[in-house]
């Protein structure tokens, strides 16, 4: 009985410790993964422009593994 309680307590403590060690970025990433568009889903199409100002649609990169990184001067 005591062993079972101790085991349960240790388990809870381990989970709590793991949660405490989770960084803000990791938590945000985990939550982000649950929001659409989900991993495995088809990328929604959307349009922007090339650096030269020509219209560009995300579907234009179909056929290639593509990395998109968002950023600006911040």
């Amino acid at each position: 009985m005591h062993a079972a309680v101790l085991q349960a307590f240790t388990g809870i403590a381990t989970v709590a410790a793991a949660a405490a060690q989770t960084t803000f970025t990791e938590r945000m990433n985990a939550r982000h993964l649950t929001q659409p568009p989900l991993v495995g889903a088809t990328l929604p199409d959307a349009s922007g422009f090339t650096a030269e100002g020509k219209p560009f649609a995300l579907r234009d990169d179909r056929g290639h593994t593509t990395v998109l990184v968002f950023g600006c001067l911040t």
């Binding site: 991993v39 422009f49 593994t65």
Partner: protein, 361 residues
């Protein structure tokens, strides 16, 4: 500068994996709050493309860039964080998405995906040095306004006079914010800031007098004009923001007209201009408005309870701004019942580490 810090790392990943057929795109997105080197929000696609060009030149990365549309179509479609990262396969399927880009993790992911490299590029190999040239005009003359509470960015839009055949640039750009009282009770504090846009290489011409502005409400003759004026400064020139915090009242959704008058000279001292420009100002949170603390979640949702129009202590889908309702619910509605309760709002605040009433700056 979270994005800037990661650019050299991204460059190494690009140089190693682009030859293996992986395409890379940096999506240049909107900035509302003044960013590095005083960059301010672009009002036109031409201005945003100029920002992109400046970023490309200063960051010295060879990664190809995209420019998001002026309505931020790509960022909204992907629900992307300001420095979000996605990997998409050739069929258009999302293989990986991250709230925050991390070049080290991206490298590991791509190594698993396309195979290991014989000699991975290191940041030290690049010799990259971020360049931000000194501003030719003085800064720090006018002390920044100290804010004591969190403010929400309001919807504003520049209004070009129809009669002008060649639109005059907005040399100084408006940032308007309201506090909780103004947005919820219709009476509170309104922040008005004008930021010199470095794209145009101009500075305030202080001897000509301080910037002045006034707010009117078209069609409402009973509205008492609200106005402000910057003092005259001893220094002839500077590019510090002109900031004001005033008492203001109005109903949610009310549209006002703000007119600003100022004088600028170009940094080469070849011209000085007296400028009068107008904006529409709506008492409504701009969901694309930035947060000075750089907190994307704050700028996206802020305090969800601010949308509690009927004051029943919870926020339903129809109380949220239609275009952002789903995204806000995604982040704050933990039990997915389309209602954000006070406790869910509190948990949301815990998650983003900003407590109600604290400043987001």
């Amino acid at each position: 500068m979270p994005f800037l810090r990661n650019v050299p790392g991204l460059e190494t990943v690009y140089r190693d994996f682009a030859p293996k057929g992986v395409r890379f795109r940096i999506v240049y997105k909107s900035i509302v709050h003044p960013g590095t080197n005083g960059m301010v929000e672009a009002y036109t696609l031409e201005e945003r493309l100029q920002h992109l060009e400046i970023a490309r030149a200063r960051l010295k990365t060879t990664v190809p860039w995209l420019c998001d549309s002026m309505n931020n179509e790509i960022q909204h479609a992907l629900d992307a964080a300001p420095n979000g990262e996605f990997v998409i396969d050739g069929e258009g399927k999302i293989l990986r998405k991250k709230f925050w880009h991390d070049p080290t993790q991206l490298r590991a992911f791509l190594t698993d995906l396309v195979g290991p490299l014989e000699k991975p590029t290191k940041v030290a190999d690049l010799g990259m040095k971020l360049e931000f040239p000194e501003q030719p005009v003085q800064r720090g003359i006018v002390p920044p306004l100290k804010m004591t509470e969190r403010m929400r960015v309001l919807r504003t839009a520049p209004k070009q006079p129809a009669e002008r055949p060649d639109p005059q640039p907005f040399f100084a750009k408006l940032l308007a914010e309201g506090n909780r009282g103004l947005l919820r009770e219709g009476k509170g504090k309104l922040y008005i800031g004008f930021y010199v846009d470095p794209l145009y290489g101009v500075h305030w011409n202080n001897p000509a007098g301080g910037l002045q502005w006034e707010i009117t409400k078209p069609g409402d003759s009973a509205f008492e004009m609200v106005r402000g004026a910057a003092p005259k400064y001893e220094h002839d020139t500077d590019v510090d923001p002109r900031e004001f915090l005033v008492d203001f009242a109005g109903d949610k959704g009310d549209v006002f007209e703000l007119t600003v008058h100022y004088t600028v000279c170009d940094d080469a001292e070849t011209f000085c201009l007296e400028v009068s420009q107008r904006y529409s100002l709506k008492l409504e949170v701009d969901p694309d408005g930035g947060s000075r603390a750089g907190d994307w979640m704050t700028r996206l949702c802020g305090d969800p309870m601010q949308f509690d129009e009927n004051g029943d202590g919870k926020v339903t889908r129809d109380e949220l701004p239609a275009e952002r309702a789903q995204i806000i619910l995604n982040h704050a509605d933990r039990n997915h019942d389309d209602v954000i309760t006070k406790s869910e709002a509190d948990l949301f605040h815990d998650m983003i580490r900003i407590k109600p009433g604290e400043t987001g700056r």
